[in-house]
Amino acid sequence: MSAVDLPVQADAKGVAERIPGLWKPPIVMSVFTILVALLVLVSPREGDSTFRWSREGDWFAIPDVSLPANGIVWAAVLLCLLCTAFAAWRSYSRLKTPLVVIAAFAVFAVSGFLAWAVAGKTLPVVGLLAGALALAVPLVFGALGGVVGERAGVVNIAIDGQLLFGAFGAAITASITGSPWAGLVAAMVAGMLVALLLGLFAITYWVEQVIVGVVLNVLVIGFTSFMFSQVLSGNAGALNNPPHFPRLEIPLLSGIPVLGPIFFRQTVLVYVMYAAVFLVAWALYRSKWGLRVRAVGEHPKAADTVGIDVIATRYRTVLLAGAIVGIGGATYTLVSVPSFGREMTGGAGYIALAAVIFGKWDPIKATLAALLFGFASNVESVLSVIGSPVPSQFMLMLPYVVTIFAVAGLVGHSRAPAADGVPYRKG
């Protein structure tokens, strides 16, 4: 709050930063520890929980692990307690709780919960994780696009619209051309179209970026739904029957037990995703392009004074972000299901937006946030299929509740790029 030379808007938003967050991890951790302990106390389970690690096609099979459910839960509670105590000690000494401890805690707590939930049954661990990855794919692309755009100072609430339009464009184009690759390109173009509108209004006409984003989402929903009922449903065979990307097993790698089936038996879009995450992370921090993009997002005027064209940079970046989100949209119609459907993204763009913020505008962290969400969703799916003792509505709530806890308990205030959402006006 001190130096006068900082751009004012950077600081004006940052009041919450003063709120001390040191005690949040131990508090949240104790809450969760108590919850896990309550599971066994209130409703102890009979039988063994079996964790299955292997899939067909693995080089060698890791045997299933079968242990008494209650035992695992108690062990988990104990480990959780240890982590909590450690975190509390750190906070007491005015130190931050290391991320490893939080991660370890999460693993213990989740294992405890899973063991409780699958008592007497078998949990396919690999399926759980592979499904988590699959569910996260559009979210990861959405979040990546969000990160890229916002790093250049343009808030993108329209991720959902870009995903939806990408899915729409991919479905039609792939149906007409018969090629999923053409569909992929179309999805990128579709994402860029929405991005172009975003840029036009947000960059050129200085319209409040939140307005533009929200409205673009509505616009895309209206447009695609209109087209869907007026054009697509009548000619579903010709226009809404896209071929899809087949699963592509990477030789050798796909045979690694546990890891292989999770990471290397996926569609090409997932491999594109690995590349995208890596590329964006590298380029943002290591390349000239990234330096300029971040400069424009942090302090556009400073960038301008060293001869960087702020407007052009923002347009280019926003378009690129749109293309990235568009790929995410393509997963809906070229991977997940074989046709476009009305509002089929189901608000995934908003979840991706949450991942952007949750991930503190960092490509890797945002990806992890998206994966966390995918994991929570898939825990719900897997448990509801296996049969869980919890009513389905509460299971369906799970990913959202987890996100709230994570954001409130572990992340807290996150600092956006300083000029995020602030249009640049030249004199």
Binding site: S2, R286, L291, T305, V306
Partner: protein
């Protein structure tokens, strides 16, 4: 390189910010620009730097007319600028900031940071700077940030350098160092435009002085001219440069601070166990290089600091652990160091800003509802009393010039029954006319028996206001000394040393 601006006119709507201004800068010359707040100095420089396009007039380099479409063109032509508000990216390292815009790259656009580091080191060496190329700019003291700005300009081989109010945030030592650098640059043939409100500096380095008032050149002054002459030329009337004040008549012990420790949320300690007191009717001025705990000290008193230990006792009551609101209600007036961040809501009207710290209760609020009539009357009174230059009380605060914004803050804080006034950098970036006024108000508050804590990085201001001076260094008190301590001794103390003959 010889630079000439000829008949530059720049309008913002109906406002003529620059009205046919002509100016030349010879190689190896320091040309000072003087003028009140809003006179049009920065605008002129922004035109020169390609940030604004002039409506009329032309820029000549060695008699060649130039067309600058943007700063890129200006830089290419050899013009560099250190802006009034630094143009550094806080979350970038020094090297990144310096290379931005002309990056050296390797394969696939990979940044060549080593080249940038070397560049920074080379230039630093040439001028005897100590700058770590890998330090994050936001972690650097302002003085160092300024050097980064200079390195940035020099890394592009600027032949004309513009310094827009570079000293507003510097300590005396840093200012002296900057002057030395400017002379060194001048020796090597660089032409320099130097904008400042501090007349002492002008007379120290200027080869030529041009005074601007309301967008037009009102004359050239000789570097030999007296402060009073320069001030009068700037403002258009005689200005009292040194506030006239009677010796203090200290009353009872009002503020007692003991063993105060202030840490931020990361656990860094900024104020490290200090104790002092202020009596009623006395001004204690806190001197120190910025970033030595002054900000945290004032924030702790007002209740804004997150982690405070020790005791702050005002009129016999403990205020550590109280909320800001409680602190203000206990009678503390607070002029924050950055008015735009902490002092004003720029999208509020002047009137609305005047009730910012009294939004819970009387006089402007009764039973949860605003008393707009009362506020309006009050605001009109204060506008007149504090000579705020604005069309009316419903003008947005953000549209006022810095000096007038500061007057609004001062008016708000001084219009309550105060038991303590905490004023942080009360006249930063304010022109001489307004400085005179604000100083008078602070002294008047003291004379009415209010204890005052003034924090300033401006030694002139410290000497003008202080009854006693407290020097802070790295969160500790170096010494509390009488008001007539010499500049040199104060300067040494600000560097953490205790000069001979000074009790700490």
């Amino acid at each position: 390189m010889r630079l000439a601006l000829r008949d530059i006119t720049k309008r913002f709507g109906s406002l003529v910010a620059n009205d046919h201004i002509s100016l030349t800068v010879e190689p190896g010359e320091i040309h000072c620009l003087l003028g009140e707040n809003g006179a049009g100095k920065s605008t002129l420089m922004n035109v020169l730097y390609g940030l604004y396009q002039a409506d009329e007039g032309e820029i000549l380099i060695d008699d060649e007319p130039q067309r600058f479409k943007g700063p890129g063109d200006a830089m290419a032509a050899g013009i560099g600028m250190v802006h009034q508000h630094f143009m550094l990216i806080p979350v970038f390292t020094v090297a990144e900031n310096v290379m931005l815009g002309h990056e050296a790259t390797g394969f696939a656009g990979k940044l060549d940071l080593d080249a940038a580091r070397k560049l920074v080191r080379d230039i630093s060496e040439r001028f005897g700077f100590e700058v770590d190329p890998d330090a994050l700019v936001e972690d650097l003291p302002v003085g160092v940030q300024q050097r980064v700005e200079i390195i940035k300009a020099l890394s592009r081989d600027a032949e004309v350098l513009v310094f827009d109010e570079p000293t507003a945030v510097l300590t005396p030592q840093e200012t002296d160092e900057l002057m030395a650098i400017m002379r060194q640059l001048k020796e090597s043939g660089t032409g320099i435009v130097f904008i400042t409100h501090k007349l002492r500096e002008v007379r120290e380095v200027a080869d030529r002085i041009t005074v601007i008032r309301r967008g037009t050149v009102v004359g050239e002054a000789s570097p030999e001219a007296s402060n009073a002459e320069l001030a009068a030329l700037m403002v258009g009337r005689p200005v009292e440069l040194k506030v006239h004040k009677e010796p203090a008549e200290p009353g009872e012990r009002a503020l007692v601070v003991s063993d105060l420790v202030v840490a931020d949320e990361d656990g860094h300690v900024h104020v490290d166990g200090i104790s002092f007191h202020i009596d009623a009717g006395e001004i204690l001025a806190v001197a120190g290089v910025q970033g030595n705990g002054q900000t945290e000290l004032t924030e702790a008193i007002v209740g804004l600091a997150p982690h405070v230990e020790g005791s702050i006792n005002l009129d016999g009551r403990e205020i550590v652990g109280r909320s800001v609101r409680k602190a203000l209600e206990a009678g503390i007036g607070f002029i924050p160091e950055d008015r735009q961040v902490d002092g004003l809501v720029s999208n509020f009207t002047i009137a609305e800003n005047l009730m910012l710290n009294r939004s819970y209760d009387k006089p402007f609020v009764s039973r949860g509802s605003l008393n707009l009539k009362k506020l309006d009357t009050f605001a009109k009174e204060k506008l007149a009393e504090y000579d705020v230059r604005a069309p009316g009380v419903s003008t947005l605060a953000g549209q006022l010039s810095g000096g007038n914004q500061q007057k609004v803050v001062v008016a708000r804080e001084l219009s309550r029954d105060l038991r303590l006034l905490v004023a942080s950098q009360p006249t930063r970036g304010v022109d001489v006319g307004s400085i005179e006024f604000i100083h008078k108000q602070i002294v008047a508050a003291r004379d009415s028996g209010v204890p005052v804590l003034v924090v300033s990085s401006e030694l002139d201001e410290i000497s003008a206001l202080a009854d006693r001076i407290m020097v802070l260094y790295r969160g500790r008190i170096v010494g509390i000394v009488p008001a007539d301590t010499s500049r040199d001794n104060l300067g040494l103390m600000m560097a953490g040393e205790t000069p001979e003959g000074i009790e700490s």
